[in-house]
């Protein structure tokens, strides 16, 4: 049995690697480096479209970022038809108005909001590179023209960019000047439009409103897990009240197994799909005085061989 010692502490990505890359890029690109963000051990750099090729070449040839991760694009245009139906207007974290929030599917986000490092135009090209020796990665962005989005190809630097640029070309309509053969990768040749643009309608959602409103038969009370649960809770409360004057059991409830129900579920329309499995006591069945299991830190020492095997059954 092997010791559970930490094999190699995962080499923390030092911020100065990112800082070194950023300093170098700033020095070499000058004004053409528009903006940069360094947070959560990651680096985003926005360059002018004219400096796209030069920035990537610099990263590959001189900064050691020689692994090509991906190249893609973003359309920052707000999409009322698609994302509007998910707009949630209630306060974050408040649980009272969650259902009202779900009903509001007509609110429209009209403003175009850019992400990290900002942006001037609707389209941005996106490329991520990685250094397999120092384990740092950066994301490069470039603003593209709205009418004729175009940027120079990087196939001459990374041959693997071929497919990525073909995909971006057909999905976003970005032209990659100098690319040896921009032809369809996924879509059939006669396909019209650029599906990943925000103004490209998702037809399935046009004909059927989301979240898929369906006629669900009303579940009888005897089969409704929520009502069964409520009845059990009442019984347990009554039993607890008669058995022992234990402190209130509402203060620290055990962590329920299902904390994130799918948000589209409304209690009248659709019951939760799964009842608690028979092997596991539901929180309502367990005695109210039981303390929820304390959170233990992961052991760094080897567990003693004689320790009872952890069955991991109890949810509390």
């Amino acid at each position: 049995m092997s010791d559970l010692e930490v094999a190699e502490a995962a080499p923390a990505v030092e911020a100065d690697h990112h800082q070194r890359i950023l300093d170098r890029l700033t020095r070499e690109l000058g004004d053409e480096l528009v903006d940069s963000v360094l947070e959560r051990n990651d680096l985003w750099v926005r360059v002018e479209a004219s400096a796209w090729h030069r920035a990537i070449e610099l990263c590959q040839r001189q900064l050691g970022l020689s692994l090509f991760v991906f190249l893609s694009g973003i359309d920052w245009q707000a999409a009322p038809g698609l994302s509007g139906e998910k707009t949630f207007t209630g306060e974050a974290g408040s649980e009272e108005d969650e259902l009202e929030g779900m009903e509001d599917d007509t609110a429209v986000v009209a403003e175009m909001v850019h992400g990290l490092t900002g942006g001037q135009t609707r389209f941005q090209a996106l490329c991520r590179l990685y250094d397999t020796d120092r384990h740092v990665g950066i994301t490069l962005k470039a603003d593209l023209d709205e009418q004729h989005p175009a940027v120079s190809t990087v196939v001459d630097l990374f041959r693997g960019a071929d497919w990525h640029e073909r995909e971006t070309w057909e999905m976003f309509g970005f032209a990659f000047t100098g690319h040896p053969g921009l032809r369809h990768l996924y879509l059939p040749g006669e396909f019209e439009g650029h599906p990943l643009r925000k103004d490209f309608p998702l037809l399935a959602r046009e004909v059927k409103p989301w979240p898929g409103i369906v006629n669900v038969e009303q579940i009888p009370d005897a089969l409704d897990p929520k009502k069964i649960e409520a009845a059990r809770q009442m019984q347990a409360d009554a039993a607890a009240a008669t058995a022992s004057p234990s402190p209130e059991n509402g203060g620290e409830t055990p962590v329920p197994a299902e904390v994130t129900p799918p948000p589209e579920v409304t209690p009248v329309e659709r019951p939760p799909l799964e009842a608690p499995p028979p092997g596991q006591p539901s929180p309502a069945e367990s005695p109210p005085a039981v303390d929820p299991g304390p959170l233990e830190a992961p052991p760094v020492e080897a567990p003693s061989p004689g320790a009872p095997p952890d069955t991991g059954g109890a949810p509390s």
Binding site: L4, N41, G115, P263, P303, G312
Partner: protein, 391 residues
């Protein structure tokens, strides 16, 4: 061979070859174009490869994916965060749980939360079980592509044990959909960890069996050694990751090198690399990877901490505005999600970086000049899942 024959015999020879071939063949004056797929056993799905042949040699080969494109990147934009895991389960369908983890980690990173220790450990166990379920099939299937039919039966037999484990814990054999933002859907069932230990022994035996069946086999060696050699620089240009990169000598594994809230850092295991970069090396590295995965699972099962499996998250998940790229070492290679949130209930944009996409994009380079059966070897050893290319 046809060059030395007179014209009428050449024509007769070509015609007889064409009649024999059970593939769609188009005869032309110089060489011929061979359509492999979209329905072909060697393509694991519906990948079509258009190959230009000169006799037995491939002049160029051009994969044509897209027969299974499902538009997940577009669909994520109309789904809420909890709904996306159902979608991404279908990307690499042999190791489905592994697809969920990087997405959940990206969302958690943006929300600034972390799953409790027990959830992290169970996630890692299921992740490695997904890896084993995926790679055992590769280890058997590679033999089939070379004409050795025995290994794949063992592979299907032993993968079944792992699938049963995954089903036991999550309820789904292929698509667990078990990971949640902030933790896991459920805790493990009673007695499951004992079962895991039993199965890990079986998987180790399976690895030994594959070792005995294929590694010393002269035919296997001849068909794989020196076939499809990929140098380090080319591998990096094409973005090869996972075992394909490690078989080319790149000592890099995201499980070890990326600081993720997962439990790999608590285990004692090793990253194997091979210097040859050929098909044999890719097979060998994956075989070692399954062995290491059994080690990881066993250590995690022994030291599984107690505690909750879910941290406090709001009932309706809203991810604060921001961007994050998180990737993990999946069975097929490095899989990542570039997640852009604008504070809504669903992703604003979710770029899915799949390993097979990059791994197969190298085929035109590596298949140039090889023989047709060797191209099948190379395809098998690069190892892809169609859903992982097409998304």
């Amino acid at each position: 061979m046809t060059a030395t024959l007179p014209d009428w015999r050449k024509a007769a020879y070509v015609a007889s070859q064409a009649a024999d071939a059970r593939v769609n063949v188009e005869i032309e004056a110089e060489g011929m174009t061979l359509n492999i797929g979209p329905q072909h056993p060697a393509t694991h799905g519906t990948l079509r490869i258009v190959a230009r042949l000169d006799g037995e040699q491939v002049v160029w080969a051009d994969p044509a994916p897209g027969y299974m494109h499902r538009g997940y990147e577009k669909l994520t934009e109309v789904r809420t965060y909890p709904q996306v895991t159902t979608l991404v389960n279908r990307i690499d369908w042999l190791g489905s749980f592994c697809n969920e983890v990087p997405f959940i980690l990206a969302a958690e990173q943006l929300m600034g939360i972390e799953a409790p220790a027990r959830a992290q450990w169970i996630r890692t166990i299921l992740f490695e079980l997904g890896r084993i379920a995926n790679l055992t099939l590769f280890l058997g299937d590679m033999g089939v592509q070379l004409g050795a039919l025995t290994p794949v039966f063992y592979a299907f037999r032993d993968r079944e044990y792992v699938l049963n484990l995954i089903e036991g814990a999550t309820g789904g054999r292929f698509h667990p959909n078990f990971d949640r933002i902030g933790g896991l859907k459920d805790d493990l069932p009673k007695g499951w960890l004992d079962e895991v230990r039993t199965v890990m022994v079986k998987i180790e035996d399976f690895c030994t069996e594959m070792d005995d069946l294929l590694m010393g086999n002269p035919i296997f060696e001849k068909r794989t050694r020196g076939i499809g050699v990929i140098p380090v620089a080319v591998a990096k240009e094409y973005g090869l990751t996972g075992a394909n990169a490690r078989a080319s000598g790149i000592d890099w594994d995201l499980r070890r090198d990326e600081d993720l809230p997962m439990a790999w850092k608590h285990c004692d295991w090793k990253v194997w690399t091979h210097g040859d970069g050929d098909s044999f090396a890719r097979y060998w590295v994956r075989l070692q990877e399954v062995r290491e995965a059994t080690k990881i699972v066993r250590q995690l099962a022994d030291g599984l901490p107690k505690g909750p499996i879910m941290t406090k998250v709001p009932k309706i998940i809203k991810v604060p505005a921001g961007e994050a790229y998180v990737w993990t070492e999946n069975p097929l290679g490095a899989m990542g999600y570039y997640l852009v949130s604008q504070g809504g209930l669903g992703p604003f944009r979710c770029k899915i970086r799949t390993p097979s996409f990059s791994n197969i994009s190298i085929l035109p380079w590596v298949a140039k000049g090889v023989l047709v059966p060797d191209m099948i070897t190379i395809l098998a050893s690069l190892y892809f899942i169609l859903g992982d290319i097409d998304r």
